[in-house]
Amino acid sequence: MNFRNQLFFLFSLFVTCSVTGQEIMKKKRDFVLISKGTHFVAGSTITLEFKGNSAISCEMYCANSYGSTLVKPQLQGARIFFKIPAYLSTKTGVLNWRIVGLKQPLFGSFKIVPKESPSALETYVGPPSIEAGGSDYSMLVVIPTDNLDNPLRQDTPVSIQQQFLASEKNKLIFTKNLIAFKHIFSPLKTGRMLLSSEVLGLNSKEYDINVMPAIATNFNIYSNRNHTYADGNQITTFTTSIIKDKNNNTISDGNFVYFFITNKIGDLLKTSGTTIAGVATAKIIHPDYEENWNIKAYILGMAESNTLKIKYKKVIANFEVAFIKNNRKVTVGPIKSFMGQLIPDGIQVKISIYKDKKILNEIIKSSREGFVSFNLNQSIYKNGEYDFKISTAKVHKTFQSITLW
């Protein structure tokens, strides 16, 4: 804390020094500064003139914003000149000097100010895309510089032009701390915003900001299917309504929409799709048995849909089973669909084999051309009595005390 106080003291000390501009002690001294002026324009020839004993060998230390050097004097009788080299005098900021070689310290400083007219506008705009709705913003930073690459003086007016859809705006800001900057808040609509800046007649190039839609709001879902039968073959398509953000802008393409399906017994099925022009589409194959589905879609963390209920009708009411070849070949079928046609290939048939009420094995096979057959190998299933349970599409049939031989 004490250290801080000391620094503060020093700070206030140099503030007073810099206000006076040139520090010269009034005592009799070797040199006396004749040059006046506390401000010079960057790039101008700056020569400090002193009166005094030119026999004294001396040099001038001078330091600008970027570095320091030594300058040799030029003598003209009793007048001593120090010309500030161009590599120092072209940069703005305080230039402090000190004559080395004198008995009493002689030092001072002056300010190099930028030229009035700008020659370049360094403009930075970012982030390049923002969310519509007025809360997100981008920022435009302008560093107007003169032709010696010095930032222009404080309070240089910078005019910011802004075009979006039908509106064109113009705002005047002022440089402070080397730069001028403006927050660019997003409009309610999506689109491309164009920006440019102008300083004292010098115009920047064109900059743009993409105004992107905000996050999705809740939406509706719909289903579309060829028929309502649970044939395990057709495909049901889910679509969303055109998903919008809170300002009625269609959300960006590529939003991921999850469709969660809850079936009769509470199991969850999931399908998903991404939005294109605000609509996401997802597909799922029909169940192969009677079902009631509740479907709800989510854009995770952002929005959700209504709940959609759809029913699938049973297509398989019954099927035939034949035991042949010493009862060792079990043929299931023909399995028929809703119009009596053979069920499309791929429906699952399960046979459970019991011996003395204990389950021995379960075999699952897919149907082919309406039929499924199971071969019961003699080396696995020894001769004797077995019970069988055959199920497909949630239809079960049991056969008891079938003798294999």
């Binding site: 914003s65 970027y66 570095g67 703005t92 970012g126 730069i179």
Partner: protein
């Protein structure tokens, strides 16, 4: 004969084949090795840059005026690191007039400004050793896209030493305010604009001198087993406590101890070492002993580029113990005048001066001194110090006279004899050397002078030592042996005759 020749010829041929193959293999492997060096993918991300402490000025961030994006700690530390590196490479560039490193920390338009100046300086044979001691950056704006930051660096304390044709021209310490624009380019925060807003001379004057007790009766202390390595792995606080108790019982009231710079961790002082030092100070307090803590032992660089590291070291230790009751004074460095020849008198004195200013800015309640090795150096920097301390190993008979002469030069500042003593060694290397009787006589006479002139003193030292590191007295056995026998207590723990005169009321 012919067969023998044949065999010799064959074997030479064979050996030369082997040699050629070995050389060729070596060349191919070197080439292969060379081709396998180079761009490492991980380097693209600058993740593997190993940072060594080379430049650590004091940085205090202010961030109350940021009108842009909220700054996070990670980005701030990256900005700080790059910004300080920018100063570091600039300092190096001005010292060597080379452009190395400037590219990395200044944008293309900004680096020209530095190149122009160092180009001219190179032509004029001007070199500038420089460093900055403190920065207080205050963020004005962190742009929303995180690519630009505008800040004001307030009260930058810049030290410069200007040479022309390798001849010293000027030394200056300035305090300046800068406005800075940094841009994030290729993963580096680079300076785009730098504008010095104001500058003035840094006031090196220290505060009003602190009074120091003139009743210092003390001894320089190292444990017998670990001289010059008091805080090493063999540190044993119990031995130190016993020694302090012994010192207290001789009616001495002060000890002087030494903090080895490297052993304590240089810029990043190790917590374990601070803990040991705290134990020592606590033990001293318990035995009513006051402690003069001598910093920067075994340090001898003084280079301007090293200053920021030295300052972190001093800052850590001084801040940690400035409120300790046992602390009497800070001794900036032991016998720095011995480095005048090898390091340059001005380098050493400027270094001492800035450390004094630093210590006094942190600790306003304890006196600061320098342990000059002889009377003729004792008046250097006397105005910056609270008391002048010097060491005396010369002829005891002219001590009083020289002391009085010094007193006249130093005038208002108290004088403390920080080290004095004589060896009792007589042996193979010095057959006609000293003896315990002579040592005792020396102390007796010196104590008489002290009593007469009220001279505060600290004798060298409590114990005779077994091992003396070669950094202390070198390899020469007659010097080493003499140094081993400066104690009041011999290697067997028995009090020597001089012990009687360790202090005389």
């Amino acid at each position: 004969m012919v067969t023998l020749n044949k065999i010799i010829f064959k074997s030479i041929l064979l050996l030369s084949y082997l040699l050629i193959i070995a050389v060729v293999l070596f060349l191919i492997s070197s080439l292969y090795g060379y081709l396998n060096t180079g761009a490492d993918r991980s380097k693209i991300l600058h993740t593997k840059i190993k940072k060594i402490d080379q430049y650590l000025p004091k940085v205090t961030w202010l961030e109350d005026g940021n009108l842009g994006r909220k700054m996070n700690a990670q980005t701030l530390s990256e900005i700080e690191s790059n910004y300080l590196d920018a100063w570091f490479v600039k300092n190096s560039a001005f010292q060597t007039n080379s452009k190395i490193g400037i590219d990395a920390y200044y944008t293309e338009s900004a680096r020209k400004n530095i190149f122009n100046i160092i180009g001219a300086n190179k032509k004029l044979k001007i070199t500038i050793e420089r460093t900055t001691l403190s920065h207080n950056p205050d963020i004005f704006l962190f742009s929303e896209d995180g690519q630009l930051v505008v800040l004001e660096d307030k009260n930058v304390v810049e030290y410069k030493r200007v040479f022309k044709d390798n001849k010293f021209i000027l030394e200056i310490t300035e305090i300046a305010n800068y406005k800075v624009i940094l841009l994030l380019e290729d993963g580096f925060w680079r300076i785009r604009h730098l504008v010095k807003e104001s500058v003035s001379d840094f006031d090196k004057k220290t505060n009003v001198a602190l009074p120091i007790s003139t009743s210092i009766k003390g001894i320089n202390y190292y444990p017998q087993a670990t001289p010059w390595n008091m805080f090493g792995s063999e540190f044993d606080i119990n031995i130190i406590r016993e020694d302090f108790n012994l010192i207290k019982n001789t009616n001495l009231n002060t000890i002087r101890i030494f903090i080895p710079y490297q052993d304590f961790g240089r810029a990043k002082v190790k917590e374990s070492k601070l803990h040991k030092l705290r134990q020592v100070l606590d033990a001293a307090e318990k035995n009513d002993l006051k402690v003069i803590v001598t910093l920067f032992d075994f340090y001898g660089n003084y280079a301007v580029i090293d200053w920021t590291l030295n300052r972190r070291h001093a800052e850590t230790i001084v801040s940690a113990f400035k409120n300790h009751n046992a602390l009497l004074a800070w001794d900036v460095k032991n016998e720095p005048n011995l480095d005048f020849d090898s390091r340059g008198k001005m380098d050493v004195i400027s270094w001492l001066e800035q450390i004094i200013v630093l210590i006094k800015s942190i600790d306003k309640n304890h006196a600061v001194t320098i342990g000059w090795s002889n009377i003729s150096s004792a008046s250097i920097l006397k105005d910056q110090l609270d008391f002048v301390s010097f060491h005396y190993y010369e002829d005891k008979d002219i001590f009083e006279e020289r002391y009085i002469a010094l007193k006249k030069i130093v005038k208002d500042k108290p004088l403390v004899l920080g080290e004095f003593g004589v060896t009792s060694y007589r042996g193979f290397w010095k057959p006609f050397g000293s003896s315990e009787e002579k040592q005792a006589m020396y102390y007796k006479e010196m104590q008489a002078v002290f009593a007469k002139n009220k001279i505060p003193f600290l004798s060298w030292t409590l114990y005779d030592f077994d091992k003396i590191p070669k950094e202390v007295v070198g390899e020469l056995p007659w010097r080493r042996n003499a140094q081993e026998h400066y104690g009041f207590i011999n290697k067997n723990g028995e009090k020597k005759k001089s012990f009687e005169y360790i202090f005389k009321n």
